[in-house]
Amino acid sequence: MIRRNSGADSIVWIEEGTSTTPYGICVDSRPENVRRFRGFLWIYSTRLTSGPLSVFTPRSFTYAEAFLFANQMKPKTLQSLSRWLGLLSILLAIPLWALVVQVSGLPKFILPSPADVWTRFLKALEDGSLLYHTGITLAEILLGLLAGVTFATIVGYLLAKSRPLEIALSPYLVASQAIPIVAIAPLLVIWLGDGILSKVVICALIVFFPVLVNTVVGVRAVPPALYDLMRSLRASRWQILFKLELPASLPVLLGGLRIGATLSVIGAIVGELVDAEQGLGFLLQLGDFQYDTSMVFVAVFMLIALALSLYGVVTLLERKFLKWQK
């Protein structure tokens, strides 16, 4: 709710919430009123749960800023509720799934019930096969991710720094993206064997492009004025790289890693589905051949868990390194 103070029309008071959890901010273009309302602002800002005002420094606002802040503020209850909302929706899906199985009467090899999948999961966990195959796939993903990210960051940095190199290499880069990874995966398996290596390479390839693009964008976006600063202080090439270019492009780099992390799971599975003796993709195919549909479900859930964990790790990295962003 936006309220204009009738006494002085230069004061804008944006207020939301109830009388028990009030918060709001006050804007005034006249300096004497800004000072008068600072105490008010501060008191109200301490009641905020998060957002820019919790690190509030007294100053005057424009109306647009005030509006923006007010929109960013949320009562504590809603915030904690939204955190659990995702989990709640998953928990609700399971009984729904069980109900569908019950009502439709579909056989177990077409649609197993949650209980079937759970039993299969416990069995696979017990005989060690699940952990073994998950471990293999995870290793492929991590090695592929490491190789892809390292290579893409180095090439991306060089491309960002050199126009001629970019012009020379861009046809290959675009072409490499035009070919679906699924199409060249069999080739790679023929060339590199059905072991772990071919999957690592497929992973690395699929991760390569998004990370490369983000690296180029990130490095190009470093403000030129900061290069001037570094050069006026006689910074060396390496100092510029580690103290300017790397931290300045980190938000974009981590964005690339976030995309890469999810794609790498796809890469590993594509490779394993072509031909493999181990890994979750192999388990998936085995379940398929043996009409062990519960096994297929277990493998799929494991893949989802892997992808979510990787995503979570990247989010943690962002939280740790990008504190300055808000």
Binding site: V55, P223, A225, D228, L229, S232, A235, A248
Partner: protein, 248 residues
């Protein structure tokens, strides 16, 4: 001045390459700067003021002529830009420390120095704030602290207060004047504000339009320390009029 100049600029000119035989940004300039002098270059936009500062900072190579420093070839430079130009991922403390960090100074020493600068610039309480939480004036204070911390031979100011509102700008003049009084650095500042140049400098040089040449060289004999009221004296007015007449 009886001392030997700290900086000698001789027949300096800068031409930027373009399709049209090159853009002459700076005509031939020659001047000396003495230690602890506060020099101001005054000129309209496009008179090559920033180009001159960048040449002094070694950020661009002069097309002809020379920039020579006494005693050593590589002077330590502190530079303040039009925008505060802080690193958004560093806190105020960390931003101020950057030059010491690049010099490989120990962390304790750098932190002590930074605390000193924070006190000097009135930034207490903001040590761990990120630049996004600072107002324009505060950010520019951090930028000045950053430029002073490594005790530079030459302080270069590129319209440092241009992005501030009028009131903050005038407050910063007094602060900068006081700091200069205390630190006695050699300062070269460029600006297009006559008031700013007269309030701060010992000597004001007016540049012509592109390619910039020195049109007028005025000694500012106003008493120091300078206070706000000095701007309303008749002598200040006379000097301002003289400078105004020289600016195209």
């Amino acid at each position: 001045m009886t001392t030997k100049p700290i900086l000698t600029v001789k027949d300096l000119s800068v031409t930027f390459p373009d399709n049209n035989g090159g853009l002459d940004a700076l005509g031939t300039l020659s001047f000396d700067i003495h230690p602890r002098e506060f020099i101001c270059f005054l000129g309209p936009s496009g008179s090559g003021k920033t180009t001159l500062l960048r040449a002094l900072a070694g950020l661009i190579q002069p097309t002809s002529g020379s920039v020579n420093f006494m005693h050593h070839h590589q002077p330590k430079i502190g530079m303040v830009f039009q925008q505060s130009n802080l690193m958004p991922w560093r806190t105020v403390m960390e931003n101020i420390q950057i030059s010491l960090e690049l010099d490989g100074a120990g962390e304790i020493k750098a932190q002590n120095k930074a605390r000193e600068m924070i006190k000097l610039m009135g930034l207490k309480g903001f040590e761990n704030s990120f630049p996004r939480d600072l107002s324009g004036g505060m950010a520019q204070r951090v930028a000045i602290a950053r430029a002073l911390i490594h005790d530079p031979d030459l302080l270069l100011l590129d319209e440092p207060f241009a992005s501030l509102d009028a009131l903050t700008r005038e407050r910063m003049w007094t602060e900068l004047s006081n700091i200069w009084q205390e630190k006695k650095k050699t300062v070269v500042m460029v600006t297009h504000s006559i008031n700013e140049s007269l309030f701060l400098a010992d000597r004001v040089m007016v540049l012509t339009k592109r390619p910039g040449k020195i049109k007028l060289d005025v000694e500012v004999d106003l008493p120091r320390p300078r206070v706000d009221d000095i701007r309303y004296t008749s002598h200040f007015g006379k000097l301002a009029k003289k400078l105004r007449a020289a600016i195209e």
